[in-house]
Symmetry: C2
Subunit: 452 residues, 2 copies
């Protein structure tokens, strides 16, 4: 069966839901991957979605619930009873997903749901995971993993695996621990298969294993997994005991989301804007930064109106206002984006702050000189007004220097104070540099034209 | 042994290289992961790097070579002899990495290197892979994989695996094929371990497997692997024969690189700027878009100087030039970024082009109305000049509408013509909207002040 996710097919599904045609719906749902069903859910009302969830078995229903966007999930869970949430969804989830979902519930409901979970081991795991901060390794790890004692033979290990494997979807590695549960190393299934069953695990495992502490930050985990191309990474506590593992898919999502966040900031959008979004959702994401732009523009108007006389006397000064503003804005965005990207890339940075600043100042000096010469040349040949020519060139030189400097320093300062440095990119830095450029330009212009 | 990658430790390594102290170097290198060595290589000269490569065994040397940035690798390979490239690097690489490296060589050298490879099977694999276009599934897949015939039993399969496993670093899945090499499904090692050895493979494998065609585009592969959280995806030809597999690490890199590229575009940077870059490398990345900004600024000056008389008569008009320019720029960047992100996210988009446009126009109308009212209110209360108040409000309204429209339509058109839509974000759209805004504002202003 072939089922494309198209406008028409989603209408078809809605019609089936409306007519309560479970048989036809099941035919479609059986064929679809949870990620596809989640995509369809996006276009359904809460009640339509609920009807679909009721049709799905627990395993698939919970896979779908994990795939839908956080906001939709929160809204949906609000209309459900705790025992339904527990039995239909939570009990079929891996501990990391279950903890994430439970964490999204109101505190009151959280407790009720946790008490409804029949498997006490699972409920305990979830409670354990909820202890960790959300954006740490502990907060994103799953507790489901296969671990064996280093003293076992392959034969014993295989038995152990079959008893543990039930609850783990995919086994990428087997974690080898000692008697005190300390992580000793990892063992690939390949080695397990390719060696005689009497071989001791201690002879086989790879002790050179990358691991992270439960309180390692999510960025750090992503950086390590990305750098070393790891499918999974084990998470240990302060004394090295194995606590859980993180898989690559969590990290891909994180890397993409972080990149998207920075992209949105520099574009002046707050939060995700997705193809299916309502108009007011798009507006909400776009208006805040535009307001800042408006305020900047008004401030610019105030600055200019305070110089009305000068502008009346030397109208030519007005000609280059857009140029000065645009160059200041562009240079500022470039500088701040480079800083943000170098912070976000997580590459261990061997350049010191002072070296970074020296380099940025050199780049800024070069850039400022080049563009000052370019605009000087243009003005020199295109018009006879030497005062204007000097004013524009010198202003552009200074504006580029300042814009670079602010673009570099402000995100660095924000980062030092643990504020997202990306805040200082995009409309923020453009607006700031607009005003600053205007002030510099007016002062220098008035100087050259003897109006000061 | 603990070895942090710091400025001091890199100097230490350079000193050891200078004094040809192989013993001390090997102690350090033995401890380091290839990805770490690659990071250190970044700060070494070609000759220093060569000395390090010579110390490393082939396996590790080639892992390091794969990890260093493309440009550095190309520069480094240029100074090496074909037989050295083949024996030290290529022969120890997986086919996908080997093909990537060979593809980077000059055509002449390519042939020589291929002829120097001793393992004819590997040379053949590389030649096969070079046939595929670089950014297709065929171009990024590796040929190393473990496949078994569906008619085997687990016992026979295990034997088969041990004979094939030698050349494959990690086995995540076993691919099940029929007698004609068509891909039938995948088998997890977990199932292999947990079932009796007499079980037939045909009873065990999972036939519901996501796969891609050799000519699927890289974006599509990334989208599928990301959506369905796949560690690996098999690649098949037009009649379904198994040709290779792609692993998650290639996709993480691709997702990150794509996001970075879009980010750089909207920030007005061409290409990567990394912490270690030389000043001229940073300049080269930054100057092109600034030049466009400069040209836009000059064009703006021309437009304004053509309206010198009007500006002299109604100097107040100049006050709101920065505001109009800034708002047009910000709105344009927002619109274009949203389009680019929705294209890049690869979410199958059920909104038609016309629906998208209707939505964008609605958002633009709302935004334009809100900001026109805001600026009208501000001007109404802050100053008595009603002509100016009308001019600015109406201009802002029209500029926001146009900026949204262009910001949306231009990337869509670029994408239609298979040009990277991200080109239309950042300085490009800002500069365009600056000029456009200026023109609109001047015409409307002159209209209200009776100067037309």
């Amino acid at each position: 069966m072939q089922f494309e996710i198209t406008k028409e097919n989603i209408e078809l599904i809605r019609d089936f839901v409306k007519s309560k045609n479970s048989a036809e719906l099941l035919k479609i749902l059986d064929f679809l991957h949870p990620a596809d069903i989640a995509e369809i859910m996006d276009d359904l009302s809460v009640n339509e979605a609920k009807f679909i969830y009721l049709l799905l078995d627990g395993e698939k229903a919970s896979d779908v619930l994990v795939e839908i966007p956080d906001n939709d999930r929160r809204r949906f869970l609000k209309v459900l009873q705790p025992d339904f949430i527990a039995s239909k969804f939570i009990e079929h989830m891996d501990s990391d997903d279950a903890a994430d979902v439970v964490a999204e519930l109101d505190e009151e409901v959280q407790k009720e749901v946790l008490n409804e979970i029949e498997d006490l081991g699972q409920a305990g795991d979830i409670v354990d995971l909820l202890e960790y901060e959300e954006d740490t390794a502990g907060g994103i790890m799953a507790k489901e993993l296969v671990s064996v004692n280093e003293n076992l033979t392959i034969a014993a290990c295989l038995k152990e695996i079959s008893s543990q494997a039930e609850e783990v979807d995919e086994i990428y590695y087997i974690y080898v621990i000692d008697d005190t549960e300390k992580l000793k190393g990892i063992l690939s299934l390949k080695k397990l298969i390719l060696n005689p069953t009497s071989t001791k695990i201690s002879k086989l495992y790879n002790a050179d294993v990358k691991m992270v502490n439960t309180d390692a930050r999510q960025e750090e985990v992503a950086e390590i997994m990305d750098k070393y191309d790891l499918v999974t990474i084990p998470v240990v506590d302060d004394i090295g005991r194995l606590k859980g593992r993180i898989t690559f898919d969590d990290v891909i999502d994180f890397v993409r989301e972080e990149a998207e966040k920075d992209y949105q900031m520099v574009s002046g959008i707050t939060g995700d804007v997705e193809p299916g979004d309502k108009i007011w959702e798009v507006l909400r994401a776009r208006l805040p930064w535009l307001l800042i732009g408006l305020l900047g523009g008004i401030l610019g108007a105030v600055v200019l109106s305070n110089n009305e006389e000068s502008l009346k006397t030397v109208t030519e000064l007005a000609f280059f206002i857009p140029l000065i503003a645009a160059m200041g804005g562009n240079v500022g965005v470039q500088s701040s984006s480079i800083v943000v990207q170098s912070i976000a890339s997580g590459v261990k940075d061997i350049e010191t702050t002072s070296r970074k600043l020296i380099k940025e100042v050199s780049v800024a000096l070069f850039t400022a000189t080049i563009f000052a010469i370019l605009i000087f040349t243009y003005n020199f040949f295109s018009q006879g007004n030497m005062n204007l020519t000097y004013s524009v060139s010198l202003s552009l030189f200074i504006v580029i220097l300042f814009a670079s400097l602010f673009g570099t320093v402000i995100p660095m300062i924000l980062n030092r104070f643990k504020i997202d440095p990306a805040l200082a990119t995009g409309p923020f830095i453009t607006t700031m540099n607009d005003i600053l450029g205007l002030l510099i330009y007016l002062v220098i212009g008035k100087m050259f034209f003897g109006l000061l």
